[in-house]
Amino acid sequence: MKPSPPTSLSRRAFLRTGGGLAVAGWALAGNPAARAAAPGRNNPWAYDVSAYETTDPALLAYTERRRFKVPRAEARRLTRGPDGRWWLCAGHYLVALEADGRPGPEIALSAPARCAAVAPDGTLYVSLRTHVEVFDAQGTRRAVWEAPQPRAWLSGLLATDDAVYAADSGNRVVWRCDRSGRVLGRLGAKDPARGIPGLVLPSPHLDVELHPDGRLRVNNAGRHLVETYTPDGERVSAWGKPGMGIAAFCGCCNPIALAVLPDGRIVTAEKGLPRVKVYHPDGRLDGVVAGVEHFPENARASRGDTAGNTLNVSLDVASDPEGHLYILDPVAAEVRVMAPRART
């Protein structure tokens, strides 16, 4: 038998080529874009909302000033303290952030932080879903407040000079407490005699914000409303309508988070179609801060194009005294700082 001629391909080169091909194949298989382009995505039964995934440029009222990565995983909520420092709820931590995103001190917690608020005197309030932990400005824990009722899911907090409001998605009510944790009243509970239809919360996204008019704004997500309450719990007004269009609140339960600008306009964040919009106090749409196309990772996760855990995709939004908006995207693990565009 004639011996085969020596090959010019060395074993090392062969392995290197094979390894390269394997890595390329693995990357392609794990790439959401490649998967999205797979034959299965040409689906005659797709739930198609692509018509709502682009924003009319004329409606864009904000421009991105900068963005920064958050220092901890599983970020959920963002709040601003009176000293200008931001506090991020992320996993089992409450992390301080400077305005440029540099992480400061952090407080370790025994359970995931769901939301936080900072009182004007610097006292920190953190919800761990079923209870609130109170920290002084130095980060020393001062008190623990148990929820007034079982099945609590405290998803929003607001701290003022004389009161703390705890939005309880589990019990569909906003608790009004004094600064020592004693319950003074409740807002939003169903009461037809007082004209309160009740909060509807298919998912735990109840939020509460203080408006410059001294009244509170609460998102009634299941009814697609933003409601106005006096601190005593009287329901003054409500606005909002369901729909996929840009002026409405999409899906079954939106908006999921609120912020209030210094001039009284109200900012809403939505899930499903991740977008952030600004409304006048009477409910007229003022403009769009960021549309679905501005959150590509979040939109892919919302569509289900990313494998694995997409449990936490909900945006959060907060404002500063200059009218800048800070948008937390937990999927991209970053905060975007948005500034208003000059109006003509």
């Binding site: 998967r35 797979a38 899906g251 855990n309």
Partner: protein, 192 residues
């Protein structure tokens, strides 16, 4: 620049392929024993099931199954359902009205039944005889709601093919072999 000659004789292609084939055969044999041993030891039977965390609602379950209609059905996880009036698993993205009109329903076969509970809550049940497993409702529910609708292989229908024809084309690689005595994934955590 030249490479200094090594002491070993050069490896030709035939020797390299022969060695490679031996290594591959031994590795494959080991893997086969490794996979088969625990199953044989327990006498365990396995069936096909869909991991809902990997499902990407590609629609292949409706068309690729050897059964017509498919053995894959939508199931409802009542503990995590929001009982929404505007259920995005039931209604098309912009319904004319929140009623049971066919033009408002997302399901192409009207397999989801909507039942009033109390204002403003509605219960949604799946009629499995009508469901074709297209996952359109699953996508609507998971994207906007809590994800209480999800697909499962129903074992009162599935013929448990050795090579599942849906698993071969599943875009999310969601099909798994699970023990026959635990044949379903029970979804208990809300998506949102």
């Amino acid at each position: 620049m030249t490479t200094p000659p090594s002491g070993n004789p050069p490896l030709n292609r035939r020797q390299f392929l022969r060695d490679g084939a031996r290594v591959a055969a031994l590795t494959g044999l080991g893997a086969l024993f490794g996979l088969a041993a625990p199953r044989v030891a327990r006498g365990q039977k396995y069936v096909w099931q869909i991991d809902p965390t990997r499902c990407v609602y590609c629609g292949q379950c409706a068309t690729a199954c050897v059964l017509k209609p498919s053995a894959v059905k939508c199931v409802q996880s009542y503990p995590i359902c929001g009982y929404c009036d505007l259920c995005t698993g039931y209604f098309v993205p912009e319904p004319n009205a929140l009623n049971t009109g066919a033009e408002n329903q997302v399901c192409p076969t009207a397999a989801i039944e909507r039942r009033f509970i109390e204002d403003p809550y509605y219960e949604y049940n799946i009629n499995e005889d009508l469901c074709i497993g297209c996952a359109r409702c699953v996508e609507g529910c998971t994207r906007f709601g809590n994800g209480s609708f999800y697909l499962q292989v129903r074992h009162d229908r599935c013929v448990n093919c050795n090579e599942c024809s849906i698993a071969r084309v599943c875009a999310g690689d969601a099909f798994r072999r699970v023990p026959a005595d635990q044949p379903y994934y029970l979804k208990t955590t809300a998506h949102a």
